[in-house]
């Protein structure tokens, strides 16, 4: 049985005193690609934040997760006044390498070759998301939790991101993401429908 990267047992999610999800069981093994599906407002983002360990108050039940997790929410997590290079070099999650050529290589991968030294607020929203996603090429965290990674990204970027996710999954990592766009990884993808657990 391949090693479990993420194991959530009988998790109940509450917002204030209202229960959103009840008794959710979710196990992610190595080399799996999961998509959280369900209608808007069922609690996909809250569940993903609970998996990452960001939400603790309204969450009961046990969640075992690896020591380091790469989480990418809606916000890029970049300082607008710093350049992409500086942002990646001193990224607050502490993940990933610090060598300069690694950073430039990653920025090239996401098609930001020319603007390593521009302050991030000079870049477009789509470019800012690519800087955030450049971390995927730099970091060795086994488990990735991505919230709507495919929004505000053009088709080329989406293809690039899809390829990177597949490579990570084949290399033994695993990814859990939420997305509204039709899924593009037909064969490898496993869907987790949260509406079954909705209250």
């Amino acid at each position: 049985m391949p090693e479990l990267l993420l194991h959530a047992q009988s998790v109940c999610l509450e917002r204030g005193y209202r229960c959103l999800l009840k008794d959710v069981n979710f196990a992610v093994q190595e080399g799996q690609l999961w998509q959280l599906v369900g209608p808007n407002g069922v609690g996909k983002t809250s569940f993903l934040r609970a998996l990452a360990g960001l939400a603790k108050v309204g969450v009961s039940g046990t969640i075992q997760r690896p020591e380091t997790v790469l989480y990418q929410g809606h916000l890029p997590g970049l300082k607008p006044l710093l350049s992409p290079l500086e942002n990646l070099r001193w990224h607050p999650s502490g993940l990933g390498t610090k060598e300069l050529d690694a950073l430039t290589w990653a920025l090239e991968k996401v098609d930001l070759a020319g603007c390593e030294h521009l302050p991030v607020n000079h870049l477009s929203a789509g470019q800012q998301r690519r800087v955030a996603l450049a971390r995927l090429w730099l970091c060795d965290a086994p488990l990735w939790l991505l919230d709507e990674p495919f929004t505000a990204i053009d088709s080329a970027g989406a293809a690039l991101l899809g390829a990177r996710l597949l490579a990570h999954v084949e290399a033994g990592g695993s990814v859990v993401f939420t997305s509204h766009q039709p899924n593009r990884f037909a064969e490898q993808l496993q869907a987790m429908d949260l509406s079954e657990y909705a209250v």
Binding site: H91, P92, S93, L95, D140, R164, L166
Partner: protein
């Protein structure tokens, strides 16, 4: 270069950069300190905010209390310290809001290293840029209020230590209110009661020195408060940030 069909095989070099170690705790603290310092220095105008606020409010007192030098010099320690406290109050409220808005706070929570570490880095940067600059410029304000020259060195030292305590307590309140939209009045309601001892020690130190007595006892108290704060405050700041991010 990237083909449009995402077959994973033929995309060259799609795996992560070989050998991507994460950093150790101290390197992480250094990187966060660097990050906040660079981000703050990119907008130098903001460094003047506490100083300009201090200057403006100090000029109000002679207008209010009359220009008589001996009256002003009697009240100078109190005025200087109260205004320093208010200047710190206006600045420390916004401490974590920038990180909250651009998403860095979320990433900080997920770091392998303890949140207290990152919070310390941020508070140190904030102290360096607001507290230390205030302490360095304070002789100018002391001269404006005709503070006896014997009190000026102690004023600088007490402001140096005191602003560290003020920043630590301000950071605790900032951490607890970072996710709230209308935190303004709430910040002062949370911070001012906790800052009272620092104000008392600081004013006592400066007025003792101004009258020629030895102020080392009060400075020692400020130092003790700073040391205690350095140890305990990061725990509260870390807990506060984690709770604020939970809504």
């Amino acid at each position: 270069m990237p083909s449009n069909r995402p077959t994973s095989r033929d995309l060259p070099g799609d795996n992560a950069w070989e050998g991507a170690p994460s950093s150790g705790a101290l390197a992480y603290l250094g990187s966060q300190f660097n990050r906040h310092l660079r981000a703050s220095l990119r907008r130098p105008g903001e460094l003047l905010n506490p100083l300009v606020f201090f200057l403006m409010v100090v000029t109000l007192f002679p207008l209010g209390l009359g220009p008589a030098p001996e009256q002003l010099s009697a009240m100078a320690p109190g005025i200087l310290w109260v205004v320093a406290l208010l200047a710190n109050l206006t600045v420390s409220g916004r401490l974590f809001v920038a990180d909250f808005e651009d998403g860095s706070l979320e990433q900080m929570l997920l770091a392998r290293h303890s949140l207290a570490l990152t919070a310390m880095a941020e508070v140190m940067v904030h102290w360096l840029l607001s507290g230390v600059t205030l302490a360095l410029v304070s002789p100018l304000f002391a001269a404006m209020l005709n503070l006896p020259s014997a009190g000026i060195p102690v004023l600088m030292v007490s402001l140096l230590l005191g602003s560290l305590c003020l920043s630590l307590i301000g950071a605790i309140a900032a951490a607890l209110t970072v996710s709230l939209r209308r935190g303004g009045l709430l910040m002062s309601l949370l911070i001012i009661p906790l800052n009272v001892p620092i104000l008392i020690f600081g004013v006592a130190a400066v007025s003792e020195a101004a009258n020629g007595y030895n102020a080392s006892a009060w400075l020692a108290l400020l130092g003790a408060f700073a040391c205690g704060g350095l140890v305990l405050a990061p725990l509260a700041i870390g807990a506060g940030l984690r709770i604020s991010m939970d809504t």
